[in-house]
Point group: C2
Chain length 496, copies 2
């Protein structure tokens, strides 16, 4: 049996090694590679991805799983077996030619979407979108599910979370947020975001962002910060987790809050137990838990009053002159302005979840077969008007704005809202156990970082998302924490 | 047969794809990767290198070679078969356990050498060196050779070049260079290198170096320039060839001439025919031909009077103030100062080949079994005194200075001297065909770049080094061109 365990762990080591090479290539393509490099490099990526796929679905892997399942006691090996079996089955259930056709469709669709968005041409993208939806319906049926068909897709991003759960939670949030939004709009103290204008050189933004990353406990000996077009964080291994950001010299918020957000993702990956290295467990457990970490740092910490009490003077040393005369209060209010808008990734904390719910409802209907893809633009625009009170003039700033569907990623969006709710629940629990405000006010985040590491980060994929949530907070998904947090925050800022 | 050709080319495509991933990882480790990343990343490198080795020595590869050899007419496939068979045989002839033991020894030896150099401790490195020599003797016997045993090793770096050839050429060069060195030392016009001092900020050095790279025809859309500790150029694919350099803010020569040198290597790799992509032919044909390209640009072009006639004013716009008053003549003489010194990589054009000959003679004796590794330090120091008139005080600046032997690279050093001779032969031939001086004086290198591309670069590994040399220049290896070039140059500068 020991020999088979070794064989199994060697397969995983090989698989994750290719994965690490793929990660580095992806990072390079998005930060450093010269433009002509891309065609060849994509072929190299294809060879490596194919190799990963081969190992995951190999006879050798199947044999290891069959021999070891139920016969091992090491908890890491048991979890690795679960992961490997799930991956094996997920692939094995799809006929090979369908899978190949889907992969080809995905790569074509992404470039089609990109063109369609640039030219505001939903009709050009529609045939691809229809096929992508169709494949996802079929795959969901191959994989199987309880309850709603969409559950099969949700499982890929947030195992344990179901339509039934989301349908309890989302309407409640929607009602509360819409109400809160109404009060915010009517409130006497409206922040003035124009005070944040001013030319803020890239180098100064980088210096401040790096200082904050260091204070958060991000380890620059096990990572680095680079510039890119669409920011991301990537964990190549626990000792090499890279953050990227983009700069807008006329609006520091993009880089500063963006870097802190990606830094939250990066802290998660840097603090996974080294015992899990070279296994599929050495990564964040789900999209939602990952997002809880980035949102926690970006919003619950870095948009808090305590944070700026400490860091505003430091910020002013890097910022343009006009910030010298800007009061802490006006600054703090301005970076927390609420304003319903068309674009998800530019949304504030209050309206963000409303963007997600629209996508969730449309995806659910598409996958169930209750709606055709051709009806998306009108349904999208109606819902935007209903939920947020704004209506897109074009599909480019409406239904075409996000890349996800063009890659066939249905079931992903709810993770963003779940991340918000998880973050609020973790935040509330943390405050029961340690003095968060004091730490933030003093700019010494060590106890916060350690708390997150101990409770969440180190486990990697050893625990499922709802398992972590329940173990850490003592309860399941509960949107009240998020609602309470938002209400308290905006009452204070908008003075109602 | 067509099916087997496809199978064969697919194997090569897979192999070179892993090779490209390895190349990117190597570049990253030497330029960008955070320090803690290294341990894991080395394991990933090991997995990929193992995979390349597996393909090269696979049953499938053997079958393709056996079936196709003699039965195909496409010249690219024929050359690929030759390469694949040579690689296959080279590995197949070494017993597996010996090969594994050697790979382990190599990686240990490099770090031992690094320690030994830092602590000037030849005795600490000796046991490793002895084993490395022993393995290389044994491998040479496995591979087989005509004439001298060292020929088996030379073949790995410069196929076609033999001890018999080098022993005709090197003594002649040595005699001529020693004589020329004597005249230079006695000459009336001694350059003053102290005029080159001055604080030259890194950013300014980069800007000037990039400008020169662009003028050389280096394509920044298919490459980039980064900082590193030990500069190199690396061709990941023909559309991604990266240059690295290092900066000494008190001596611009390191970065400027270093970048041009690496740029010469990079131009070679950028101009290989795309028809050879994803085959083992898509790289320079030998170490010596590669070095001829870097040395051609660094010395024959960028240390020429014509070059600085055009570029000195541009240089002055980037350089510190003290260069404004420095005359072109004094500057040109100073960057061409001859001074026998201990360290190979700091040697001038005149004395460089003498450093190489010392290493060649010692390697040859070691591999033949005519000398023990323990006698290296005394033999090294004696030869330094005899050939160059300087004697190292320590082994760190003597026999331990170069990394090559610690990696088991015996047979490599002669390529550097061959590169000088090839460069001089190409330079002479080019001047017969096009007006090089005019192009250099006008700072428009296009016809030079095109000449090199047409005659050398585009062929990749389709032609062997001496085949290229003979086809391009109409004769075999002839040291007279180098000697004539050096004599003319130094007579002019030193006025004797």
């Amino acid at each position: 049996m020991k020999e088979t365990v070794n064989e199994f762990m060697d397969l995983l080591r090989e698989q994750t090694s290719y994965g690490e090479a793929i990660g580095l290539i992806a990072w390079d393509m998005r930060t450093k590679a010269p433009k002509k490099a891309m065609d060849n490099r994509s072929e190299v990526l294809g060879v490596l991805a194919q190799k990963v796929h081969e190992i995951q679905t190999s006879e050798a892997m199947r044999n290891c799983i069959d021999k070891l399942k139920g016969n091992v006691s090491d908890p890491v090996v048991i979890k690795c077996l679960e992961e490997a079996e799930e991956t094996y089955n997920k692939t094995a259930k799809i006929p090979k030619d369908e899978y190949r056709a889907y992969v080809t469709l995905q790569s074509k669709s992404e470039s089609k979407w990109s063109e369609a968005k640039a030219q505001n041409d939903f009709a050009g993208f529609l045939p691809y979108l229809e096929k992508l939806v169709e494949f996802n319906r079929t795959f969901a049926d191959y994989w199987g599910y309880n309850g709603h068909r969409y559950n099969a897709l949700l499982h890929n991003y947030e195992p344990g979370v179901t339509v039934e759960l989301l349908d309890q939670v989302f309407p409640k949030i929607r009602k509360a947020l819409t109400e809160l939004l109404g009060r915010v709009k009517e409130a006497p103290a409206q922040p003035d975001p124009s005070v944040l204008k001013g030319h803020f050189p890239k180098g100064q933004q980088t210096a401040f962002s790096k200082e904050i990353l260091k204070r958060m406990g991000y380890d620059f000996d096990a990572g680095r910060l680079d510039e890119t077009v669409h920011p991301f964080a990537i964990g190549l291994n626990v000792n090499d987790v890279r953050v990227t950001t983009k700069y807008d010299e006329s609006d520091f918020r993009t880089a500063v809050f963006g870097t802190i957000h990606e830094g939250g993702h990066a802290l998660y990956e840097q603090n996974i137990s080294e015992d899990l290295s070279f296994t599929p467990l050495a990564t964040g457990t789900s999209m939602g838990i990952h997002e809880s970490q980035s949102l926690f740092w970006e919003n619950f910490i870095a948009r808090s009053e305590q944070f700026w009490e400490n860091h505003y003077p430091l910020f002013q040393t890097y910022a343009p002159d006009n910030f010298r005369e800007l009061s802490l209060n006006s600054f703090f209010a301005a970076v927390n302005e609420v304003k319903p808008s068309l674009i998800r990734i530019e949304a504030d904390e209050l309206t963000y979840c409303l963007h997600i719910m629209i996508r969730y409802e449309l995806e659910k209907a598409l996958i169930a077969g209750d709606m055709d893809a051709k009806d998306l633009p009108s349904r999208w625009n109606d819902k935007m008007e209903e939920y947020l009170g704004v209506r897109p003039d074009t599909d480019a700033e409406g239904v075409l704005q996000d890349i996800h569907w063009s890659g066939g990623d249905f079931g992903y969006f709810p993770s963003y809202a779940l991340g918000y709710m998880y973050a609020a629940q973790f935040d509330a629990q943390m405050r029961e156990e340690i003095d968060v405000d004091k730490a933030v006010r003093e700019g010494d985040f060590r106890i916060i970082k350690e708390w997150l590491k101990e409770k969440i980060h180190r486990h990697g994929k050893m625990k499922k998302p709802l398992e972590i949530l329940t173990e850490v907070t003592g309860e399941g998904l509960n949107p009240d924490y998020l609602l309470r947090y938002l209400e308290t925050k905006y009452k204070h800022i908008y003075q109602f």
